[in-house]
């Protein structure tokens, strides 16, 4: 509703000069307007200089970072995929999940069980992990999305607490407290760290690409309309619950996928890997990076992975510095730091104005 008012104000301001011209603008300005708007229709959004620069940097990482540092950067691209899944949900449905690490854990455990119990290979296990996360996420969404208010958040909170506990109930399958190990991946331990990193980077790039594409699809537009005005959306034939459930499932599949990659990277996972504090970390990454664009997920992951690494010498102080940084970001850039970076980048690298980057 408030947006309608805002539009109306802008329109009223615009209306004055048109009125003074006399006659009907609808007919009067027709020729002039179509001539002016013709060129803007031609080029569609393509690669921006900033996107290319980020991709080049991402590809160059294995040239400068080795062993431990490359491991950390692989962690960054994996967690970035998880945060993109979370941000997609928050941005599109305005529902906040506080149990996102549990979804990642379901993906990871799904793949681990598929490999250890059923002897599946990496790729089939990856699919199993994604499907498992998607299905559990779908159940949570169906159960809570129709009700207004904080129910979704509460249900995901339940997920955050119960998933690690449930994993302990079946130690013969999940390994209990000690967790579960998968055969070391030929990719990482076999001296192919760079290749593994590139696989993670490819998944991250794929996630960004998919989110962009979803935003421009009919479901993306429907979600936009629901966010703008749920009542108007319903009169257009859009079922708010249905498109929100779709969005939540999509976000959860991305996160489940990141969980499987995490499993392949660390090879041993335990319930504590996916505890509530990890969920809070994801949420922090979402907020710091900014939820509007998938690039925010990468920025958020850089923050939540690299800052604690950089501060690890400070031991106890690390959390305090982390909290202070989060506070500073919320004060200075309430929409996350990605829009600010994009603004800066445009100034130095040029490139198109507007579009999907900043929103």
């Amino acid at each position: 509703m408030s947006d309608g008012v805002r539009i109306r104000r802008a329109a009223d301001a615009e209306q004055q000069p048109v009125e003074t011209l006399g006659g009907s603008y609808v007919t009067e300005t027709r020729g002039k307007q179509s001539a002016a708007s013709a060129p803007s229709a031609a080029p569609r959004r393509r690669w921006s200089p900033m996107g290319l620069a980020a991709l080049a940097l991402g590809l160059a990482v294995p040239l400068v970072a080795r062993e431990y540092y490359l491991y950390v950067m692989a962690l960054v691209v994996i967690e970035a995929t998880a945060i993109i899944g979370l941000s997609y949900i928050i941005w599109n449905t305005e529902l906040v999940s506080v149990g996102h690490a549990a979804i990642q854990g379901i993906g990871a455990y799904g793949a681990a069980v598929a490999m250890n119990q059923w002897g599946l290979g990496f790729i089939p296990a990856l699919l199993i992990g994604c499907v498992a996360a998607g299905v559990i996420g779908l159940i949570v969404a169906v159960a809570s999305v129709r009700v207004k208010g904080p129910y979704f958040t509460v249900v995901t909170l339940g997920l955050a607490w119960s998933v690690p506990e449930v994993l302990l109930v079946f130690p013969e399958i999940t390994g209990g407290y000690n967790g579960i190990s998968v055969p070391e991946t030929a990719l990482w331990e076999g001296g192919h760290q760079a290749l593994f990193y590139y696989c993670g980077l490819a998944v991250l790039a794929g996630a960004i690409f998919l989110v962009r594409r979803m935003d421009r699809s009919r479901v993306g537009r429907a979600l936009l309309m629901v966010r703008e005005n749920e009542i108007a959306a319903r009169t257009l034939g859009i079922s708010p619950a249905r498109v929100k459930i779709l969005a939540i499932t999509f976000g959860n599949v991305l996160t489940g996928c990141s969980g499987v990659l995490l499993l392949y990277l660390v090879t041993t996972i335990a319930p504590s890997t996916f505890g509530f504090s990890q969920s809070v970390f994801f949420l922090t990454g979402s907020i710091v990076g900014g939820i509007a664009s998938p690039i925010g997920g990468l920025v958020g992951a850089l923050f939540t992975v690299l800052v604690p690494q950089a501060l690890s010498d400070l031991s106890g102080l690390a959390s305090i510095v982390m909290g202070a940084l989060l506070f500073a970001v919320l004060l200075l850039a309430p929409n996350g730091i990605t829009p600010e970076i994009v603004k800066l980048g445009r100034r130095f690298l040029g490139g198109r104005r507007g579009g999907g980057d900043a929103h």
């Binding site: 509703m1 947006d3 309608g4 008012v5 805002r6 539009i7 109306r8 802008a10 329109a11 009223d12 615009e14 209306q15 048109v18 009125e19 006659g23 009907s24 603008y25 609808v26 007919t27 300005t29 027709r30 020729g31 002039k32 307007q33 179509s34 708007s37 803007s40 229709a41 998919l210 594409r213 979803m214 699809s217 009919r218 479901v219 993306g220 537009r221 429907a222 936009l224 309309m225 703008e228 005005n229 009542i231 108007a232 959306a233 319903r234 009169t235 257009l236 034939g237 859009i238 079922s239 708010p240 779709l246 999509f250 929103h359």
Partner: protein, 260 residues
């Protein structure tokens, strides 16, 4: 008054908000290709009638039929499929999208490609998107605002937004268009444009219109039949001339206006 094949038929339509009865046992009908007006003073319950017809507020009725369907058995988001579309008093247009993009929102059911097709960008999905866009341009042309298609919605005059919302509603090829004050807040020239567009829609699209407004001249010039409401009840029905000369209407509606 009623034709044999009534498109919309409501009787005993009642809407209560807590203790307040906003619409009280209202009877209303719209025939095929008919333009019906609903007027009344502020707070008479006109918008509530429209909201009840579009199933946005809980309502009770002896009968609420649209063609062969019982609207009481349908949710708001299913009416679009049945052939009912509507607009709002304040256009619900997304400011940061272009006018054309906003209109494509009305075609949610017209491009039924799935989630996976969208993610993979299949040919079916691209074709559906292209057709949707062509359809949107067609509807914008019908409403006489195609010149604004590529403009961001936050930067166009109010009257264009009003017409954009009508174009968006037409995306589902409705048989009944519910318009909530289509000329409220518009200039005299815009009113003429909107009236011309609505006349054209009703005569060429095989689409009936139920329109609410304060502007009696606008309604009289557009509608073949007018219902007058006051305090949630219908107080008169008939041709525009008949209604305007009705003493009850003069007292309730026009008289009240004179007092202002």
């Amino acid at each position: 008054m009623r034709t044999d094949s009534t498109l919309l038929e409501a009787s005993g339509l009642t809407v209560r908000f807590g203790g307040l009865t906003a619409v009280n046992s209202l009877a209303l009908s719209v025939g095929p290709n008919e333009v019906v007006g609903l007027i009344g003073p502020n707070g008479a319950g006109k918008t509530t009638v429209l909201n009840a017809l579009s199933r946005l507020v809980p309502s009770s009725a002896d009968a609420l039929g649209f063609r062969e369907h019982d609207l009481l058995r349908h949710r708001a988001d299913q009416l679009c499929d049945l052939g009912i579309a509507r607009t709002f008093q304040t256009p619900q247009i997304i400011g940061h999208l272009t006018i054309a993009e906003n209109v494509t929102l009305g075609g949610f059911k017209r491009a039924p490609y799935g989630f996976l097709a969208a993610a993979l960008g299949t040919r079916a999905c691209r074709d559906a998107e292209r057709r949707l866009r062509e359809l949107a341009m067609e509807k914008l042309a019908l409403c006489g605002v195609s010149a604004w298609a590529e403009r961001e919605a936050s930067a166009v005059p109010y009257g264009v937004l009003k017409l954009t919302e009508i174009a968006r509603a037409l995306m589902s090829d409705p048989q009944l268009l519910l318009l909530d004050e289509p000329v409220a807040g518009t200039t005299q020239e815009e009113r003429a444009d909107i009236r011309r567009v609505l006349t054209e829609i009703s005569s060429t699209l095989n689409c009936s219109v139920l329109v609410i407004d304060h502007d009696v001249d606008f309604i009289a010039g557009l509608c073949t039949r007018v219902n007058v409401m006051n305090f949630g009840r219908k107080i008169a029905e008939g041709t525009p001339d008949h209604v305007v000369s009705d003493p009850d209407v003069r007292e309730a509606y026009l008289g009240a206006e004179d007092d202002d």
